[in-house]
Point group: C2
Chain length 306, copies 2
C-alpha cells in the first residue's frame, strides 16, 4: 500500500479532503514537497506546473501533468493510453495529459484508423462548465438559480450570461481567428496521432451543461468511408468507448449519460451524405474523468505496470 | 386599416389574445373561416395546414404557411425574402416558410455567393427549446427549476432530461441515419438556393437555451475561399445580418443576444485551416422571429408591395 500526499497552494493549507473514507490534510506545494514521492499528479494550471514540475522530477518522481505547460514539448509524450501508450519510453519521467476535448475526440476517432487513413476531422464542441473549473460550474449553477428565481445575477467574469445561453470558448483568439482551445485540439490531435499533417477544422463552444463535453465529428478518410455497421462493431469493441446508437428509440449520447462514466459515448454514426469519403458521429465524454483525471490515472497505471 | 382574425383549434376558442393593446377573441379554424380574408398565416403544424390551407386558397386568401406541409411541393415557393424573394411569381397564392434552422443558416450564407460558388456546407446546430414549441420551453424551465430546487422532475415526453443537458434532435431517424430536422435543412437549403446539387453535412442538436438557434457553419467554395475581411464587410452590409465579430473582446454571437432581434448575428468569421477553399462562421438567430414569424411577415410584405 502506498501513501497519499495532497498538495495545493497556500490558500488550501490545512483543509481536509477525503479519500476512501479517510481524511487527508492538504499541505502546501513547494520545491521540497516531492522527496520520496513515486508518482506526482499535477493539475493546477500551466504556470504552477512550470514552477514545480522540475522539483518533482529532480526528486525522481514520475510526473503526470494535466496542464498545458509541457504538451508542446517534443521531448514530453502527450498521451491518451488507448491511442498512443506506445509513445511512452522507459526514460520518460514526465508525461502530459492532453486537453479534454482532444482526449474525448481521439478516444472515439482513433479506432477508425484500422479501417482507413484519416485525412481531415471536422469538429464542433458542446463543452461543459467543468472545463472552466469548479468556479465556472458554480457560476452556471448560481446564474441559473438566479434566473429561475428571478433574483439578481451573480457577478461573472464572462462577458455574457451563461444560464440558458452558450458562447464561443472564452480563451484568447490568435491571429488566424482561432481561440486557444481550438488551437490546442488541432496541435495536440496531430501530436497524439503522430500525424503532423492531419487536417483539422475545430470550433469550440461552451454550453450550459455541467460536466461532460459533447462533440459533433465528421471524419474524412483519404479513400471511401468504411461501412457504418463495420464502424459500429469496431467501436463497440474498442477500449474506452461505448456505442449508444439506437436509431429506433432515438437514443444517442448525451452529456448527462456520459457524466460519471469512464467510457466515451459514441452514436449518430452515419455516412456523410455530402462526401463519400466521410462519416459523421456524435461523441460525449466526462470532462473530469476521461477528459482529465481518469486519463492521468491510466497513464500512471500504464507506466507502473511496464 | 385591415382587421385581424385569430383562428385556432377548438381548444382555444373564446380565449383572448392582445394585439396593439386591443383584445381579440380566438375563433375556431374551420373550412368556412376564410371568407373575406386577404392574407392567412398558418402556424399550427403540417396536418392542420394540409386540412385547412385548401379552403383558405379557395377563399382567395394569400396563404403564408409556416408548417412543413407544402415545402417540398415544386409548385410552392419556399422563401427566405433576403435570399429568394424572386422565386415568388404573381400566380403564387401559397408560399411556404422554411424550417427555422435553414432560414437562419441561409440568411448568413447566401450573401457569400457574391464572392464565390458554394460547394458544400457543414453545419452543427445548437437549437433552442422554442423550436419544439411553447410546451418544450415550459418543460426546459420547469425541469431546470426542479433541478435547481431539488424537487421532483416534471413528466417529460423526451427520453432524456433537458435541464443542463443536450440531445440529438428528437425527430425520427431515416434509413440513412438522419433525423427529420437534418433532412429538412438539406432539402430546403437546396430548394431555396436553387442549387439541387449543393452538398450539405448537417447535425442537429437541441441545447438548453430558450429561444434562439446557434449554428457552426463551414462554407466550402468551389475555388479558393474569399478573404475574411472582405466577407466581414460584405456581411455587414447584407440585409438581415448583423456582424458580431470582435476577436479582441472575445465578443461573438450568442443566442441570448440574438433573442428578440430581427437580424441573424454572424461572427467567428475565419479561414478554415484545414481547407484553403473554406471559411468558418458562428451564426445565431431568433427562432421565433427570423426563424418563423418575422420571415412569414416579410414574405407577406414582399407579395403585397409587388
Amino acid at each position: 500500500m502506498g501513501c497519499l500526499k495532497l498538495l495545493a497552494s497556500e490558500r488550501s493549507v490545512g483543509k481536509l479532503a477525503k479519500f476512501r473514507g479517510e481524511d487527508f490534510c492538504i499541505e502546501e506545494a513547494k520545491a521540497d514537497s516531492f522527496e520520496g514521492v513515486d508518482v506526482a499528479f499535477f493539475s493546477a494550471g500551466a504556470s504552477r506546473s512550470k514552477l514545480l514540475v522540475p522539483f518533482a522530477l529532480q526528486a525522481r518522481a514520475l510526473v503526470i501533468d494535466n496542464s498545458s505547460a509541457f504538451r508542446t514539448d517534443p521531448a514530453v509524450p502527450l498521451v491518451v493510453p488507448e491511442v498512443n501508450a506506445d509513445s511512452i519510453r522507459p526514460e520518460n519521467r514526465l508525461i502530459a495529459v492532453p486537453n479534454c476535448s482532444a482526449i474525448i475526440l481521439l478516444t472515439a476517432v482513433n479506432p477508425l484508423r484500422k479501417l482507413g487513413t484519416l485525412d481531415r476531422l471536422i469538429v464542433s464542441t458542446y463543452q461543459s462548465a467543468s472545463g472552466g473549473g469548479a468556479g465556472m460550474m458554480r457560476l452556471l449553477e448560481e446564474e441559473t438559480k438566479a434566473v429561475v428565481l428571478g433574483t439578481e445575477l451573480p457577478e461573472s467574469p464572462l462577458g455574457t450570461r451563461y444560464a440558458y445561453n452558450l458562447f464561443s470558448h472564452n480563451t484568447p483568439i490568435n491571429e488566424f481567428g482561432y481561440n486557444e482551445e481550438e488551437a490546442k485540439v488541432i496541435f495536440e490531435s496531430r501530436k497524439i496521432l503522430s500525424m503532423p499533417e492531419l487536417r483539422l477544422n475545430v470550433t469550440c463552444v461552451r454550453v450550459p451543461v455541467l460536466r461532460a463535453h459533447t462533440e459533433t465529428v465528421t471524419v474524412e478518410f483519404s479513400g471511401p468511408a468504411p461501412d457504418v455497421d463495420e464502424v459500429r462493431n469496431l467501436l463497440a469493441s474498442s477500449p474506452g468507448v461505448r456505442v449508444v446508437d439506437d436509431r429506433e428509440a432515438n437514443r444517442f449520447p448525451t452529456p448527462l449519460d456520459a457524466s460519471g462514466q469512464d467510457d466515451v459515448l459514441v452514436g449518430r454514426i452515419r455516412q456523410d451524405l455530402s462526401n463519400p469519403n466521410a462519416l459523421c458521429m456524435l461523441v460525449s465524454g466526462d470532462q473530469l474523468l476521461k477528459g482529465a483525471a481518469l486519463n492521468a490515472l491510466q497513464i500512471a497505471e500504464h507506466v507502473l505496470k511496464c
